[in-house]
């Protein structure tokens, strides 16, 4: 009996110490998986970009030396920036409202947000295609209201891509922002108004600075995700505002030019990693996801 009880006492005490990993052991399965299916392919990608069709940096020279490809890079950044700014502008009021709403209401809004996030991306993008086309509901409504005479061109261009992508990115900015705003003590805002701040001043001089880390984290996440986006730009965009992911797909699938495809993919990877490093440097890991 005494033997058994001492064992159980050991068992009770032991876990705390044992749970702290001293080695990478517990992370090994994940690390091995990452190595096999991420690191190795990335290395082979890099190799292809400098070895095909012949050894050298010719692929990178072509990529960075061509006006067309530079335009695609520039457009990728432009669209990503536009999407990020609009997502912030729309997402901030939503996150703020969610944070101060009664819980039963905010639960409903959250359910709507998450449901839209869980719906198949392709289906959502197709839905926008139908809504935004010349004979779609948006144009028909505007024309029936007498606001426009001619249907607006809302798809196959920058407008379509921006609308579609902002819609898809919104949850990714609302969720981290919500977390940050929730943690702001409402007493601070009360204090601000007691000290004579107008609503506008409390917003700009108190709430926004306090929420800034969450905004920055969310914005960077949306920006980085947008950089590599494929489906939405491919379906809602026109060919003249092509994004990088489409160019890569074109090189790999249509032109079967893997050297160029790898080079473009590698440039995208480097840019993404650089932005990620910037995020870590500016906000540390604690702000990832806004917690």
């Amino acid at each position: 009996m005494s033997n058994a009880s001492s064992t159980s006492a050991l068992v009770v005490r032991a876990p705390r110490r044992n749970l702290l990993p001293k080695t990478l052991g517990p992370a090994m399965p994940a690390l091995i998986l990452l190595f096999l299916f991420f690191v190795l392919p990335v290395v082979s990608l890099l190799l292809r970009s400098v070895l095909e069709p012949e050894p050298g940096l010719s692929n990178y020279a072509t990529l960075l030396g061509s006006e067309t490809y530079l335009r695609i890079f520039l457009n990728t950044f432009l669209v990503s920036a536009l999407v990020t700014v609009l997502s912030l502008l729309i997402g901030f009021p939503v996150a703020w409202t969610l944070a101060i709403m009664p819980a039963h209401w905010s639960r409903i809004v959250f359910a709507i947000l998450l449901l839209s996030m869980w719906t198949n991306l392709l289906a959502r993008t197709y839905a926008w295609m139908v809504l935004l086309q010349r004979t779609g509901i948006v144009n028909k409504t505007l024309m029936n209201l007498g606001l426009i005479d001619q249907p607006l061109t809302l798809v196959n261009n920058l407008v379509g891509v921006t609308i579609g992508m902002v819609y898809i990115m919104l949850p990714f900015i609302i969720l981290p922002l919500y977390g940050v705003i929730r943690r702001i003590d409402p007493a601070i805002l009360q204090a601000a108004s007691l000290c004579g701040a107008t609503r506008w001043q409390s917003l700009w001089r108190v709430l926004v600075p306090l929420a800034a880390p969450g905004m920055a984290a969310g914005a960077l996440m949306v920006f980085v995700m947008s950089l590599g986006y494929f489906v939405t730009p491919a379906l809602l965009g026109g060919t003249s505002n092509m994004m990088l992911a489409e160019l890569i797909a074109q090189f790999v699938q249509s032109l079967v030019n893997w050297g160029m495809g790898s080079a473009a993919a590698f440039v995208l990877l480097v840019v993404t990693l650089a932005l990620y490093a910037l995020q870590l440097k500016l906000f540390g890991t604690s702000q990832m996801g806004g917690r």
Partner: protein
């Protein structure tokens, strides 16, 4: 005892699975209604006749095909590819030469036969127009490129493939016999004049949607897609004037595991009846010259070769040789 039974059962299962494996083959195409029709007209029939189970895969991806051949892990046995790609891939050593002792090519349309491929089906790029949406329909390629006479959006095939370059040159007044070698500078200059009025379609279903919704009331379409819209009751006007033919091909990737079954599959798929069934189901044209006689006369009448208007055959060999060059330029032009 129990252990032995389990082992025996395991061994039996393994034997069955490996047997099933040996009797399987994989057919890869572009998905959608086209592949459904290919399954019904070819694969199901082949499975019933030969006992070989035909698994469907897709969509066709040239990058994937090349990767499989290079890695010597080919899981596709028969692949439906574009005609110009078939010629190029054959020359690059990515394909198995076809066994014409098994496949009877005497009845196959010679326009679409090479050492490495036979025609899967063929189609024409024609001018389609939604008659309910516009007062007048463009009749020629020149009309389709004339934004003054026919204002509004028009739709063209998005990918670099035989068709649009040819249409631009014909619209600019090049005669069919002088089309090749393609004058790319001239073609792109002509395309520049309507670029902002082009909506690109990337797949057949999208082209139908664009036309039916009048998002683009006219454009260049695969003939079969217009036949299907007309069958659905839409008032479509089709102009066959200088219709441009191009084809899909059936090929066997180098190192395919079930080469023998693949050759037999192609033999059946290119046979007169199978080609007739496929054409009836899709509105695309059969590549077997005996097929039209087996088809309903009314449907056979809608085939490209039955039209009295002039026809232009896209030169697959020219395209195969210049595929990469044209493609690079095409996509760069689009992105401008």
């Amino acid at each position: 005892m129990k252990k032995t039974a389990i082992l025996a059962a395991l061994a039996a299962t393994l034997a069955i699975t490996s047997m099933a494996k040996a009797e399987d083959m994989v057919f890869t195409s572009w998905g959608g209604t086209t592949q459904d029709a290919q399954k019904a007209a070819w694969a199901d029939k082949f499975a019933a006749e030969s006992g070989v189970n035909v698994l469907m895969d897709g969509p066709t991806d040239y990058g994937k095909l090349k990767a499989m051949v290079e890695a010597k892990g080919v899981t596709w046995d028969v692949v439906d590819v574009e005609g110009d790609y078939a010629v190029q891939a054959g020359a690059q050593g990515l394909l198995e030469p076809l066994d014409f002792k098994v496949i009877d090519k005497t009845k196959l349309d010679p326009r679409f036969v090479t050492d490495y491929s036979v025609g899967s089906f063929y189609y024409s790029f024609v001018i389609g127009c939604n008659k309910d949406a516009v007062a007048e329909c463009p009749k020629t390629w020149a009309d389709l490129f004339d934004t003054a006479k026919f204002p509004g959006k028009r739709t063209f095939y998005k990918w670099s493939a035989p068709g649009v370059i040819e249409a631009a040159l014909l619209a600019d007044g090049v005669t069919p016999d002088k089309l090749y070698p393609l004058d790319l500078d001239r073609a792109f200059k002509k395309l520049d004049t309507i670029k902002s009025d082009i909506i690109w379609w990337s797949g057949g279903a999208q082209s139908q949607q664009l036309l039916a919704s009048a998002e683009a009331p006219f454009g260049s379409f695969w003939n079969g897609r217009l036949t299907a819209l007309a069958a659905d009751g839409m008032t479509v006007e089709t102009s066959w004037e200088q219709n441009i033919t191009a084809a899909d091909s059936l090929v066997v990737p180098k190192g395919a595991k079930n080469k023998e079954a693949a050759m037999k599959f192609i033999a059946l798929a290119s046979s007169a009846q199978a080609q007739a069934d496929m054409a009836t189901a899709t509105g695309y044209a059969p590549t077997n010259t005996d097929s039209p006689a087996l088809m309903d006369a009314k449907i056979a009448g809608t085939l490209p070769d039955k039209q009295t208007a002039s026809q232009v055959n896209a030169d697959m060999n020219y395209w195969a040789q210049h595929r990469d060059e044209i493609g690079t330029r095409w996509y760069a032009w689009q992105a401008k």
